[in-house]
């Protein structure tokens, strides 16, 4: 579903991604962890070309993401994305946030888009907020709307870029629950997070990054019990023992 072959990325002189090789299969849940500045978010943002790569090859859903002839808008229909700061449209209601892309991109009728939106709002547990504005919702509710917004396009892949990092601790659980449900239903997910409990429980595979490199890739049981890399061990000891 997603394949990185020797991918490198530079921001000017800064080498953000170094020789990335990563293959993610359909239905897989891959959680990317690592210290801040290690390139996790950049890696995820390359998948839907919010960031471009400098060299190497990246194939998503059988499409070369950085090829000149690629219709990026078409590819993006199949990739939902959830951001750290939700990025809901503040001037639109919850319902309008969710129906915008389906109506304008897929050309679905307003009525059908609304029904789909309500279905996903039910799914994330806040159908009663359909007509509220984002500013009237808690962080956890906003992020669940953002997830519903992504799902409404019926994507093949969902990307999560630190979806709980901006939430207060009490509402993190409700967002993680929605993500767990999604994982169980077989959605292909790439998740950047610091929630180790979630990673351990839901991930099929953990990818550990540091300084732009993938240092370790392993199933969670193996990674958390017995990390191979010294850097990964250090990272885990710092975040788990406090």
């Amino acid at each position: 579903m997603i394949s990185f072959h020797q991918v490198n990325k530079h921001y000017g002189n800064f080498h953000v991604l170094k020789d990335i090789n990563l293959h993610i299969n359909q239905g897989e849940v891959v959680v990317i962890i690592g210290p801040s500045g290690s390139g996790k978010s950049t890696l995820v943002r390359c998948i839907n070309r919010l960031e471009t790569i400098t060299s190497g090859e990246l194939i998503v859903d059988n499409v070369k993401v950085n090829d000149k002839n690629t219709d990026i808008n078409k590819l993006r229909r199949n990739i939902g994305m959830v951001f750290q700061h939700f990025n809901l449209y503040p001037h639109k209601t919850v319902l309008q946030n969710i129906t915008l892309a389906p109506t304008k991109v897929l050309g679905i009728s307003e009525k059908e888009a609304k029904e789909t939106a309500m279905y996903y709002l039910e799914k994330v547990g806040i159908p009663d907020k359909a007509n509220a504005y984002p500013s009237e919702l808690s962080g956890g509710q906003q992020q669940r709307v953002a997830i519903a917004r992504g799902l409404a396009m019926n994507p093949k892949i969902m990307l999560f870029d630190e979806p709980t990092s901006a939430l207060d601790p009490e509402t993190i659980g409700e967002v993680l629950d929605v993500m767990k449900k999604l994982a169980k239903e077989g959605m292909t997910m790439v998740v950047v997070t610091h929630e180790m409990g979630f990673a351990r429980e839901v991930a099929d595979r953990i990818v550990f990054m540091d300084q732009g490199r993938i240092l370790e890739e392993a199933p969670p049981e193996e990674f958390f019990a017995n990390p191979r890399e010294e850097r990964a061990r250090l990272f885990l000891s710092r975040i788990l023992n406090h």
Partner: protein, 217 residues
């Protein structure tokens, strides 16, 4: 004291001038808003050539006097075989001139919308233009209402440039009445009052919009 017989005797002329000033202002307001938005998007779009064109437009137009822009339409175009009546030439000049300022205001407003909004819109599959139209511009417009109001007030006052090329506006009729009656001060006092009749409600209206939009957020 002010001689009110001036306005009574020349009511028709004042009204005709007032009507044309309103017409020129409304046309230029609409035109410069649309043109300004297009130029602002040019300046920001991820296309080098458009950025350059937008910047050239703004820097060129806003750095020459309004009257010269109007002259281009009134005296310049006929040289190229396009003849416009003075009202049309004046209104076009006013539109083109004001658009440069409006473009800068809108550009600042667009840049004030958080980057994540564009990212969210684009990552859902919307094209750049769709993202602009449905997500970025509606938010930018709210931000720019106060500075935009200033531009519109300036536009109404600047429409007096039509008087110079016999554009049949308030200023033109003011000059005409003054040269007929040999009265200056009183004639222009009434001209000023008519401008105030336009600009004060505009100013209050912008304030009202600003407060209403602030609430809807």
């Amino acid at each position: 004291m002010i001689d009110f017989s001036i306005i009574v005797d020349h009511w028709d002329m004042y009204m005709q001038g007032f009507g044309n000033t309103v017409k020129a202002s409304l046309l230029a307001l609409l035109g410069s808003l649309l043109l300004g938005i297009v130029i602002a998007v040019f300046r920001i779009a991820p296309v080098r050539l458009l950025n350059w064109l937008g910047a050239a437009y703004v820097e060129f137009i806003r750095n020459i006097p309004l009257i010269l822009v109007v002259f281009v339409f009134f005296f310049g175009l006929p040289a190229l075989g396009v003849r416009l009546d003075s009202f049309t030439a004046g209104t076009l000049g006013l539109t083109v001139y004001t658009a440069a300022f409006i473009a800068e205001v809108i550009r600042a407003g667009i840049l004030a919308v958080p980057k994540g909004q564009m990212e969210a819109a684009r990552s859902s599959g919307l094209t750049y233009l769709q993202a602009m139209r449905y997500v970025i511009l509606p938010q930018a417009i709210k931000i720019v209402i106060p500075p935009l109001g200033n531009q519109f007030i300036n536009l109404v006052k600047n429409s007096s440039v039509l008087g110079v090329i016999a554009g049949l506006d308030l200023m033109y009729f003011g000059d005409l009445i003054s040269s007929e009656t040999f009265v200056t001060f009183d004639v222009y006092i009434f001209v000023a009052v008519f401008y105030l009749v336009l600009t004060v409600p505009l100013s209050l209206g912008v304030g009202f919009l600003e407060r209403r939009l602030a609430r809807s957020r």
